[in-house]
């Protein structure tokens, strides 16, 4: 096991898959000569060449649209959208095309497409550069939405995504890139659509994913000092949503707090809570709590931004409230 960063893990996944399969190629803004806005593809251009690491015009719709065209011919494009905020400029291709082509073409074509993008606040990039609208994309059948919270998951899930025959939105978190974690030295894949218990516990179930896993882990450590043991279930993908490990955990703890970075309304918390009420109603011992972003566009000022984003203290408080 090596301790590498989330960035290195993603970069290695891409590198290994490109070495393994010549049909994999990368396209996006700044991915080539510059090595990517978040430096994930640094060194790729020199090694794989301009044909397989394609710098594109600033044209998000066509980055995704062209990737769809190439994928329909059997290539495996990895399209990079600089941030998920820019995905709205490519929304038609993601929602009306990628998500629906298999179905609307009656299964004639497969779409082995990965769209890598970056979500999340915390870097003072304000309202149109810091959103966490992951659930928007998870709403659409036909897409898969993967959002890893650790370097190990990032690497294994991205490699699986590149080998998948479905369109996958692979959402990385802007503030996780420098975070280190243990990653196996040998090759491994992590199947898409499997939740994972990241920390075992007996008292309260925290359901979360991506950056909020990090905050939940911190909250769990604080709570452990007071003798409260939370179990943390990391969804890892929002669609498909693997609810079974959540239900299993909830049947043990009878209490849940759902932590997401996006807005509360119509969010991951709403979905997971509804599923728990539907499928484990007899096990509910306390109202299920949701921690999420305040319902405003995200502000630029650091203090204001932190006020709007979920905080460790809120998670700690919510866990104590449901106990």
């Amino acid at each position: 096991m090596a301790r590498i960063t989330y960035r290195e893990a993603i970069s290695k996944a891409l590198w290994e898959e490109m070495e393994r399969d010549p049909s994999v190629f990368i396209l996006g803004e700044e991915v080539g000569v510059w090595g990517g806005t978040y430096a994930v593809t640094r060194g790729f251009y020199d090694h794989f060449g301009p044909k397989r690491v394609l710098d594109t015009p600033i044209a998000e719709a066509t980055i995704v649209g062209a990737a769809i065209g190439a994928a329909l011919t059997g290539l495996r494009p990895v399209a990079e959208l600089m941030t998920i905020n820019f995905a709205f400029a490519a929304m038609d291709h993601i929602v009306n095309q990628a998500a629906k082509l298999r179905y609307m073409f009656g299964g004639q074509f497969t779409l082995p497409l990965v769209i890598r993008t970056v979500s999340g606040g915390g870097r003072q990039l304000a309202a149109t550069h810091s959103q966490t609208p992951d659930v928007v994309f998870a709403h659409f059948p036909g897409l898969k939405v993967v959002a890893p919270g650790t370097p190990e998951d990032a690497k294994g899930l991205l490699k699986a995504a590149i080998r998948s025959n479905d369109p996958i939105l692979f959402i990385e978190h802007a503030t996780l890139y420098p975070v280190r974690g243990e990653v196996p030295d040998e090759e491994y894949l992590i199947p898409i659509g499997k939740s994972k218990v990241q920390r075992p516990g007996r008292d309260v179930t925290i359901v979360t994913y991506s950056k909020m896993l990090e905050l939940s882990m911190k909250a769990a450590e604080q709570l452990a000092e007071e003798g409260i043991e939370v179990e943390i279930v990391d969804l890892r993908s929002l669609r498909p949503l693997d609810i079974e490990p959540v239900i299993q955990s909830f049947k043990k703890t009878n209490r849940a707090v759902i932590v997401e970075e996006g807005w509360r309304s119509y969010g991951v918390g709403a979905e997971v809570a509804a599923r728990l009420y539907e499928e484990a109603f007899d096990y509910v011992d306390a109202p299920i709590r949701r921690i999420a972003q305040k319902e405003t566009p995200l502000p630029y000022n650091r203090t204001l931004e932190q006020m709007a984003l979920p905080q460790v203290e809120e998670i700690v408080r919510a866990v104590k409230e449901v106990l």
């Binding site: 769809i68 011919t73 059997g74 609307m104 004639q108």
Partner: protein, 329 residues
């Protein structure tokens, strides 16, 4: 008159245009009878489409068409029976098995992909396919089509620009029928020819009389050869006229005069093709009658086939959403 193609090929082109017209007319009737939910017509566009179809290697090259391309699809091997299955939303429709709207074609066996209902999406798909062809070092070409209305979309410029930057093997056809549903060309663009838009993007833009199938073929042949030989993409504008309303959902009397429609009917592409072939001694009145009879029988057969075909079973609504064909609730 020097013929650009063998006689039998020219006859085949005429036949396909004729068949397209008669199928299309029947689709309107079926809609009026309440037997189908939607139709969007190719009438008036047949010559432009057949000229383009015969300029590519059909079944080898890729095609990203738009909803008005019935003639093009027939030339690519889409059958009248299949068209009826699609119109009626029947099981076995190869485009989608009753899942996609009619005329939103896709046909893997002919390398045809479909498009979204928001227009011009296929332009960027075509650029991507061109990219894939180039990456693989193949000698294939992509033919993609839009109406002139779609050239107002940002995506059209994005896709064409990409292709021009990378010299991708794509031919971008604009079927300019003067109307984006009801909005006339002058309200859509300041240039006189839609092909002039290519000027700003650094690739050739050619306008051609889209009512004349041989004129379209000549222009297309050059564009396709340029694309195949590494010379890059071309924008080809075929000036046509949509003789019918936009789709079965609008009434064109609200936005254009009957006189205008009648005037363009005198330049009906089928009529022009017939006159040309008759003058060349390839077609006779008797032969036209025979072809008409054959078209009638083919259409009847297709309608009967479609009407007797089963609908998809209700559970087919649930798939195929994902590769593993899972039934997600």
């Amino acid at each position: 008159m020097v013929l650009p193609l063998p006689e039998e090929t020219l006859l085949e082109m005429y036949w396909t245009m004729l068949l397209s017209r008669r199928l299309d007319e029947r689709a309107w009737v079926l809609h009026r009878q309440g037997k189908i939910a939607f139709h969007i017509s190719a009438i008036g566009h047949e010559a432009a489409q057949i000229g383009a179809a015969y300029a590519i290697r059909r079944g080898y090259d890729w095609v990203a068409p738009y909803y008005r391309d019935l003639t093009l699809m027939l030339a690519l091997g889409y059958t009248p029976r299949e068209f009826m299955l699609s119109l009626m939303g029947k099981k076995g429709d190869p485009c989608s098995g009753g899942r996609q709207m009619p005329n939103h074609w896709s046909l893997k066996r002919a390398n045809v992909i479909s498009h979204s209902s928001p227009v011009a999406t296929q332009t960027s798909h075509a650029a991507g396919i061109g990219l894939a062809i180039k990456l693989r070092g193949e000698d294939k070409v992509v033919l993609t089509t839009v109406g002139e209305g779609s050239t107002s979309q940002g995506e059209w410029y994005e896709g064409v620009n990409w292709a021009a930057v990378h010299k991708l093997p794509v031919v971008f056809i604009i079927a300019n029928n003067l109307y984006a549903i009801s909005v006339r060309q002058e309200q859509q663009m300041a240039v006189a020819n839609a092909a002039d838009k290519a000027l700003g993007l650094g690739l050739p833009g050619v306008s051609v009389d889209g009512m004349d199938f041989l004129a379209v073929y000549e222009v297309m042949k050059e564009a396709v050869e340029r694309a195949r030989n590494g010379g890059g993409p071309t924008v080809v504008e075929a000036k046509v006229y949509r003789i019918t309303p936009h789709s079965s959902d609008d009434d064109d009397r609200s936005y254009r005069s009957r006189e205008e429609v009648e005037q363009f009917k005198r330049r009906d592409p089928l009529l022009i093709a017939r006159q040309k072939l008759e003058r060349a001694g390839i077609l006779t009145a008797q032969r036209v009658e025979e072809l008409e009879q054959r078209a009638k029988e083919t259409v009847e057969d297709a309608v009967r086939f479609g009407e007797s075909a089963p609908y998809p079973s209700p559970e087919e609504a649930a798939f195929p959403v994902y590769a593993e064909d899972a039934r997600y609730a």
